[in-house]
């Protein structure tokens, strides 16, 4: 007892001992209520229904619902915005839930004679946020490329423009829960979980979509060439894909903003009987019979029959429906200020994602179960304490993941596993120390306290070191490394907590007659031990 450390002194004082069991209970209930949720089956099915809608359907549905709210008319604009956001979040719930069990309580409700209005089927679920590598989906890393004459350098303003346009285009895909995120000075990360057709997404994102009207002019060398006339897709108010009368071909009709309409009017007045060319990213919009854009040599443009002063017009180019819709979306979203390059694409199919989740879950359970059996075999009753602490640890960590909306990726799982190792390690350290103290002839109570106090400096230093490393990784790491560091840091912090509270409290709860680490207390030594224990309390 000569070198009882300060830490263990604090630990054994009455105030600090009292809060621990309560903390364990509170954390346990908080974890369970955060982790597991129960809703009537009809509600969950409704969420799933909403999550399967595309963006425009969803927006309409939400608008409909909000307007139907009794207070809607009285709300100010901010309240309205808030309500809409809340509804949207609800609609996205289904994307992030993992259904654990469907429970029917029909017979129970009957036997209890409950009101028939209570739903009889419930769904037990959790809503961990899973990364794209686990649930499937597409992630694109885009780089904005400088376009020298106009945009020599990517400034934050240029990036804002790129971000807005990409956001608009992605939203038009009708995939829920898309995320566009800035990364570094000239990068954007686009995440599209649950996307069915990544190709379509890339087609839509990758192009600049600069629509230009050009007039025919004669170059100095005598050949005809297309000349800019200062009118672009940016002058459009809106564009829309419409079917041509003939059947399967489509056109894109557009409407100019007032200013654009004026310019267009002047242009068409000037060019009656001549040609106007319409170009998308420098390529004629007109397509040949093979579905490809015409070459510059083949393209003849559109002949202006009369001045168009209404500010409306159409682009005909034998589009298919998809092509026309795609073009109109791009025109509505606006042109990108600079071209973008897709640096990286990662697409995980839903099958592979599901396979990863299922297998990781099974393997994780087997792994934890093995550890628990091992602890039981090595430490007996104390091992049971460690196991309960481990369960509390797992629940609490996952609950924190949910409440901090940590996205769990493969690397994140690695961090979590490592932190499980560290949590078990804390218990092993405490047990080994307690064992030593018992061998040195200490009484049970003081052995546990001394064992804890002495192990604590090792637990503290090793975990503090891990936390510092995590902080560095979060600052400098790439997204994969960050995911790892976040889960590890949370895990390490929680493991310190469970070691301080749960393991220690529960060790004291083991009946003395069971013995600890092979030492028995009910026989010869029990008489000498009782007074000692009182002394320590």
């Amino acid at each position: 007892m000569a070198s009882k450390s300060l830490l263990s002194k604090i630990g054994s004082s009455a105030i600090f001992r009292d809060w621990k069991p309560w903390a364990v209970v509170v954390v346990f209930f908080w974890s369970v209520t955060t982790l597991f949720k129960i809703e009537p089956e009809s509600t969950v099915n409704h969420w799933i229904e909403l999550s399967n809608m595309n963006t425009s359907e969803l927006n309409m549905e939400i608008q409909k619902r909000c307007v139907a709210m009794p207070r809607w008319q009285k709300m100010n604009i901010y309240e309205k915005e808030h309500v809409v956001k809340e509804e949207l979040e609800k609609a996205q719930m289904a994307n992030n839930i993992q259904i654990l069990k469907r429970i029917g309580i029909a017979s129970l409700a009957q036997s209890l004679n409950l009101d028939k209005k209570i739903p009889t089927r419930y769904v037990l679920f959790t809503n961990l946020k899973l990364g794209l590598d686990l649930r499937g989906g597409s992630q694109l890393l885009l780089k904005a490329m400088p376009a020298p004459p106009q945009v020599p350098e990517i400034t934050p303003e240029v990036m804002n423009g790129v971000e807005t346009v990409i956001n608009n285009r992605i939203n038009s895909l009708g995939v829920s829960e898309t995320l566009v995120q800035r990364a570094g000075k000239d990068r954007l990360i686009v995440e599209m979980p649950g996307i069915k057709d990544p190709q379509q997404a890339k087609d839509r994102i990758g192009t600049t979509a600069l629509l230009e009207f050009k007039e025919l002019a004669i170059a100095p060398d005598g050949t005809a060439m297309w000349k800019d006339c200062g009118l672009t897709g940016a002058d459009f108010k809106r564009a829309q894909a419409t079917a041509m009368m003939a059947g399967s071909t489509y056109r894109v009709s557009f409407e100019f903003k007032p200013e654009g309409a004026k310019k267009f009017g002047e242009l068409t007045k000037r060019l009656v009987g001549q040609q106007i060319g319409i170009f998308l990213d420098g390529v004629p919009t007109e397509r040949g019979p093979d579905g490809r854009s015409l070459s510059l040599q083949e393209y003849r443009g559109v002949t202006v029959k009369e001045p168009i002063l209404t500010g409306t017009g159409e682009i005909t180019g034998s589009f298919t429906q998809d092509q026309a819709v795609d073009l109109s979306v791009k025109l509505n979203a606006g042109a990108l200020p600079v071209p973008v390059q897709i640096l990286e694409e990662r697409t995980v199919g839903a099958t592979l994602g599901q396979d990863s989740i299922n297998k990781s879950l099974i393997a994780g359970c087997i792994g934890i179960a093995t550890v628990m059996v091992f602890m039981l075999l090595v430490y007996g009753w104390a091992g049971l304490v460690a196991d309960i602490a481990l369960i509390l640890y797992t629940l609490a960590t996952l609950a924190i993941f949910i409440s901090m909306s940590v996205t769990l990726t493969l690397a994140g799982i690695a961090g979590f596993i490592l932190s499980i190792g560290m949590a078990v390690d804390a218990n092993i350290l405490i047990f080994e120390r307690t064992k030593e103290e018992l061998k040195n002839g200490k009484a049970l109570y003081s052995a546990i306290e001394a064992g804890f106090g002495r192990a604590f400096s090792a637990i503290f230093d090793s975990n503090a070191n891990s936390l510092i490393a995590c902080a560095v990784l979060m600052m400098f790491g790439t997204s994969i490394v960050k995911g790892f560091a976040v889960t590890l840091a949370i895990g390490v912090a929680v493991s310190m907590f469970t070691a301080i509270t749960a393991s220690r409290t529960m060790l004291h709860l083991i009946p003395r007659s069971f013995g600890l680490f092979g030492q028995k207390f009910d026989s010869k030594s029990s008489t000498t031990q009782k007074p000692k224990q009182k002394e320590a309390v």
């Binding site: 890393l141 990662r346 499980i420 400098f476 790892f484």
Partner: protein, 330 residues
Amino acid sequence: MSTKEQDYKVKVDIVKYRWIWIGISLLLTLPGLVGIGLSYAKYGTPLKPGIDFTGGSILQYQFDKPVELEPIHQVLEECHLPGSQVQKAYISGKEAVVLRTKALDDENLKKQLDAALEAKLGPFKQLSIDKVTATIGPELLMNGLIALFSTLAVMILYISYRYKLDFAVCAIVALLHDVIVLCGFYAILGLVIGVEVDSLFLSAVLTVIGFSVHDTIVVFDRIRENAKYVGSKTKNPVTGEEYKKTFGDVTNDSVNQTLARSIYTSLTVVFTLTALYLWGGVTTKDFVLAMLVGIISGTYSSIFNASCLLVLWREIKLKKQMGKPAVART
């Protein structure tokens, strides 16, 4: 409490057999270093880099019908993608085909490939697409290395602050040992069966570093606690002779006192990882294997290397201190 050797029968003698322990470490690291060297000669990098670092595409397909690899090679040739690798893998018990090609920057090329595959081998499901342009690789590597070295620097600072500089340096050397063992293992795997390292491998290295230092600190904590017994009198259990405890004796005690803990803790981590390796998803296999190798090595190095080095360091320092006045006298 001052003499613990009665309770802790010396299980491993760190000090006496230190050249054996260091020898084992050399045996573990040397083939790795050779592997790294050969890999450097062959690929120009210490490990066989995956597409994350070189740029390229990995495409996974699952065909409805069982397929042979030969027609796929033909399709790749037709699509002007010679030199691509084709492998078979099993995902959810079903056969899948993994193609490694150069980066398919041109979207039309991918469409063409898909169409050709469907025409030749029937309908398929695309399991995953990974496509990285060559420009991003060096940057990814650079970022990873910055993260790695800043972590090491901060760890040295923390351990020096809580312990002493020589503890910190020994912990870092033990850690480098594990990183070399892990990288060497993967360099050899890369040479023999073509295993490539991706950015997940970097997380594995980080995990191993975290674990190795964690493990070492626990041993060091015990040495720090026991350091007060240096110079205390003790009896040799065999001869009964009295002598003063050296730093080496104290380290020996400390390592043996923490031995059970070190082994138990590592075993629990090894259990979880083995479960993940055996039953986990196919995408995590390489990653988990890397962690397994690193953690086993980490356990070894924290028991045998870190403390061994510390004793060596202290002895050399002691000799220098003792040696100086002796030199002056002569």
